[in-house]
Point group: C2
Chain length 207, copies 2
Amino acid sequence: MRKVAESTIRRLSLYLRLLEEFEAQGIATVSSEALAGRGGTTSAQVRKDLSFFGSFGKRGLGYSVPELVTELRAILGLDRRYQVALIGAGKIGSALVQYRGFRQRGFDIVAIFDVDPAKIGREWNGLVVQDSAELETALANEKIDMAVLVTPGEAAQPLADRLVSLGVKAILNFAPVQLNVPHDVVVKTVNLALELETLSYELTNRG
Amino acid sequence: MRKVAESTIRRLSLYLRLLEEFEAQGIATVSSEALAGRGGTTSAQVRKDLSFFGSFGKRGLGYSVPELVTELRAILGLDRRYQVALIGAGKIGSALVQYRGFRQRGFDIVAIFDVDPAKIGREWNGLVVQDSAELETALANEKIDMAVLVTPGEAAQPLADRLVSLGVKAILNFAPVQLNVPHDVVVKTVNLALELETLSYELTNRG
DNA sequence: GTTTGTGAAACGATTCACAGCT
DNA sequence: AGCTGTGAATCGTTTCACAAAC
C-alpha cells in the first residue's frame, strides 16, 4: 500500500465519527460537502482522502453512510479487537481504563502493571494490578497487541525496550519523553506539556 | 510576527526540554547537531526553527545553553504564569490537577467546576469544586487565561461558548468533539480515540 | 443538475549546500 | 577548522477545476 499521510488518517477517523452520528440519525447518504462541513475541512480534501483507498461514492449522489462506515472501519483496522496492556496504574491510567470509548472501539485492557507495592495485588476494573518486574512472565502466554505507557519519564524507555522484546508492535506513550524503538514498532506520544506550550505560544503571539 | 508552523513550535518545546536537561548537567553550549540528535530531527531543522525567531548561536561554537533556554521560554510564553480553570472534575481532570508539570511550567489551576452534585462542594487539591451552572458568577472577578475542558462530548460545545463569552482565549479540549470558536480563541484538542485509531491503522497496514 | 474522482497547480515544510562568522 | 544562518531545491500536502458518472 502506498504511503498515506498521518493527517489523512486522522481525518478518516473524524469522518468515521461523523458518519456514525449520521447513521444513528438514519441518514442514508452524505456528500463530501456534508462530511467536510462539520469536520473542519473541505469537500475536495474529503474526496482526496477517500480516494487513497478506493472509490466509495456515487457521482451525483454522494456516499452511502453504512457502506462508508464499514469501509472506514476496515481501513482503520477497527473491525477487530486489540489486547492492550496498561503500564502504570496511576490517575491517568485509571481514567483510561474507565474511558468507555476504549472498549467501545475494540481496545480491551487485559493486563495492568505498576511498580508501586501499594497498588500491586489490588483489583482494578476486574483486573489485578501486577508487578512491572513480572512483565515478561505475566505476558508470556498473552498475545499483547498494544501497550499504553503511563509512567514517569525515566521509566518509559526501559519499559518500552522490554515491551518490544515481548513482541509488542504499538505503544501509546503518555510519558513526556521521545521513545526509541525499532522501525517495525509504532509509537504515538501524547505529551501534555507540549500541548500546553503550544497554547501558551499562541496566547502570547496573538491567537 | 510572521506565521510559524505549529510543527516548529512543537519542536521548540522539545528543544527546551532537552536544553533544561543539558543545563541541569552543567553543559554550557550545544550544537544544532546535539539538539537534533535526541530530539528526533536534523541539525538543519533545528537551525531553521530557531532562525524564525532570531540568531541565537555563535558560528563555530554553537548555542549557549542558558541563553537559549531563556530565549525559548520567552518565545513560548513560559516566562509568565497562567490562570487555568478546570471544567470537569472526573478522573482525567484529577490526574491533570496532580500532574506536577502543570504548575511547574506556569499553569495554575484556580477554579474547578462540575455538574455532579456529588462532587460540588468537595475540596480538591485546596480548591472547592463549584457548580458548572455558576461558571459566570464564579469567574466574574477571576481573570482566566485558559480553560481545560474534560467533559462528555455533548457538554463541551455549550461550555466552550460560555467560556468564550467570559473572555477565555485558550482552551485545551479533552472532549472527543471539534469545538467551534471565534478566530481569536485558540483550541487544542487531545482526542484519545484518534490516537488509538492511528495506531490501529498503522498496525493493520504495516507491522 | 448534482457530486465524485483526479490530474495539475499552488502552497507549505523540510532538506541541501554553502557563504560567512568565530 | 567548526558551526551557524539562510537562500535555493526538494519533497509532501492541500486546493483547484473539470471531465466523467449518475
